[in-house]
């Protein structure tokens, strides 16, 4: 490092001084834990490979080592990880959309239209949100199928399968509540069909429908209600269940073995 900088003389030394000052500062060492590669530098060694995981937030998601079969591409369809990644992608694009959207019957459709026609990248981000949502339903479904066919729901992973089925249901609910928000003909009548079906719940049918719609018929109250469910309630619940899901994956001994 120093040799390559020799041509520029003092600049290399200054750079090293600056680096030492920054890495020796209290702020730096308060950000990076003892043992972090950002404190002590990284050269490729088994110890440093462990430190990358051990001294970063990734340790919550991954152990330091995994069984070799876990990284074989044939077994790493990575569908669970991709579902999580799509959730993140949907959160990012969704936050962008929230800046331009008001959940009232009078303004919702106009806001979406304005987003597509006069907001920079508005159309692209809305498309990404929509397609990523459909893709997430698909990937969660395929993830469930893979887990079943590998028998990965068996002991000691029974309870994580239960959490997984709950997450599948939550994914469908997230997608379905988002379906109404554009407030176009497609949204209105798809949700009409869906909520009419829920209205046939035994005993509580009409009450369930009333609570879901915020009234006897779909209207601006329904829109507000489903908006809050879509952007706050269901993501909140989903994040909690995902945290338990990921925690249990590690506690139950990592991903399941090969067939």
């Amino acid at each position: 490092m120093a040799k390559t900088m020799q041509g520029s003389g003092g600049i290399g030394d200054k750079w090293n001084d600056l680096k030492e000052n920054v890495q020796g500062s209290q702020a730096w060492s308060s950000i990076f834990r003892p043992g972090s590669i950002f404190r002590k530098g990284y050269n490729d060694s088994p110890r440093n490979r462990s430190y990358v995981i051990m001294n970063s937030v990734l340790y919550h998601l991954h152990p330091v080592k995994v069984k070799r079969h876990a990284v074989k591409v044939s077994y790493t369809l990575c569908l669970g990880g991709l579902s999580f990644f799509l959730f993140i992608l949907l959160t990012v694009t969704g936050i962008f959309l929230m800046f331009f959207y008001r959940p009232t019957a009078a303004q919702a459709w106009d806001d979406i239209y304005a987003l597509q026609t006069s907001v920079t990248f508005g159309l692209l981000v809305r498309n990404m949100h929509r397609w990523a949502a459909h893709l997430m339903v698909l990937s969660v479904f395929l993830h469930m199928a893979r887990v079943f066919y590998h028998g990965a729901y068996k002991a000691p992973r029974e309870f994580n399968w239960v959490i997984g089925v709950i997450l599948l249901t939550l994914t469908l609910l997230l997608s379905f509540t988002g379906y109404l928000l554009p407030w176009d003909q497609l949204a209105l009548w798809a949700v009409t069909v869906g909520t009419n079906m829920m209205g046939y719940t035994p005993v509580l049918g009409s009450q369930v429908r009333f609570v879901l719609l915020g009234g006897a018929e779909i209207g601006t109250d329904t829109l507000l209600r489903w908006y809050v469910l879509h952007v706050l309630f269901f993501p909140f619940v989903t994040v909690i269940f995902m945290a338990i899901h990921f925690w249990r994956v590690r506690k139950d001994g990592g991903i399941s073995g090969p067939l």
Binding site: R68, V71, C78, G81, L135, V165, Q185, I218
Partner: protein, 269 residues
């Protein structure tokens, strides 16, 4: 006790000898201790050998002396040390009942027990073939995330999400379809009472799915051992897939059966 490893027994014996030697040294000043490896050393030099910093030893010695004699002696002994070393002494002397925190020979740690491996920990009999998560797994995950983002980005660039005309309560589109993942249910609606198709069947489906690991007691995960479970799941998944495909592509106006290559598609994502 026969199960304590020999080297630990040896170490404990050495520590005991050393403690005895030191006790003798403290009692008799420069008197050499018997049976110890470093028997020729004086008390002060054996203290220098130990890993414990001098000021801490000084402090513990002072506390011990104080317990035996009085406060003046402690301050006289500690006078050789720094102010930092003497200050905690007075704090300790305030609480007379506090332990001095030093064991035999000035050691602050001692062996309490030896726990055999395997008695409280689950020891894997044979080592497993493992690889580091960084870089092997993280690189794969990163590439997967990049490919996924690229796919969504390019697809969104090429295909626009539908935005039909403003919602209109007075104009029901024909056909009206639910989102694609509910079209299987809507398809069932043509065959059963809405309570059965819309609530009972999907509710039972989710319930049985949740119970799957508790119903399936077969411990094997090999496909050849679980032909029944795999067949049942495949039939179940295909049942929904076929219903969703029929509902999506083969239902036209009035939700009547159509052929997409003749009448066109009645489907919006």
């Amino acid at each position: 006790m026969s199960e304590v490893p020999e080297h630990l027994l040896k170490r404990a014996q050495e520590a005991r000898d050393k403690a005895a030697a030191k006790k003798a040294a403290a009692a008799g000043g420069d008197a050499p201790a018997e049976g110890s490896a470093d028997s020729g050393d004086s008390g002060s030099s054996s203290e220098a050998d130990s890993r414990i910093p001098a000021h801490l030893l000084e402090r513990s010695k002072a506390a011990k002396a104080r317990k035996a004699g009085g406060g003046e002696e402690a301050s006289a002994e500690g006078g050789g040390g720094t102010a930092v070393a003497t200050k905690p002494d007075s704090a300790v002397s305030a609480g007379a009942g506090l332990p001095t925190g030093a064991g035999p020979g000035g050691h602050t740690q001692r062996l309490l027990t030896v726990v055999k491996s395997g008695s409280i920990q689950d020891i894997k009999a044979k080592p497993q073939d493992k690889v580091h998560v960084w870089p092997h797994l993280l690189v794969i995950e990163f590439v997967a995330a990049l490919v996924c983002t690229a796919f969504v980005f390019i697809f969104s660039w090429l295909v626009n999400a539908p935005l039909l005309e403003l919602a209109n309560f007075n104009q029901t589109p024909n056909p009206s379809k639910a989102p694609w993942y509910f079209l299987g249910l809507q398809e069932l609606l043509t065959m059963f009472h809405p309570m059965v198709a819309g609530v009972t069947i999907p509710g039972m489906g989710i319930f049985i799915l949740i119970l799957a690991p508790y119903i399936d007691k077969n411990p094997s995960n090999k496909p050849e051992d679980r032909k029944f479970a795999i067949s049942l799941m495949t039939v179940h998944l295909m049942f929904w897939a076929v219903l969703v495909i029929i509902g999506s592509f083969f239902r036209g106006p009035g939700f009547n059966f159509t052929l997409p290559w003749i009448d066109g598609l009645f489907f919006e994502l």
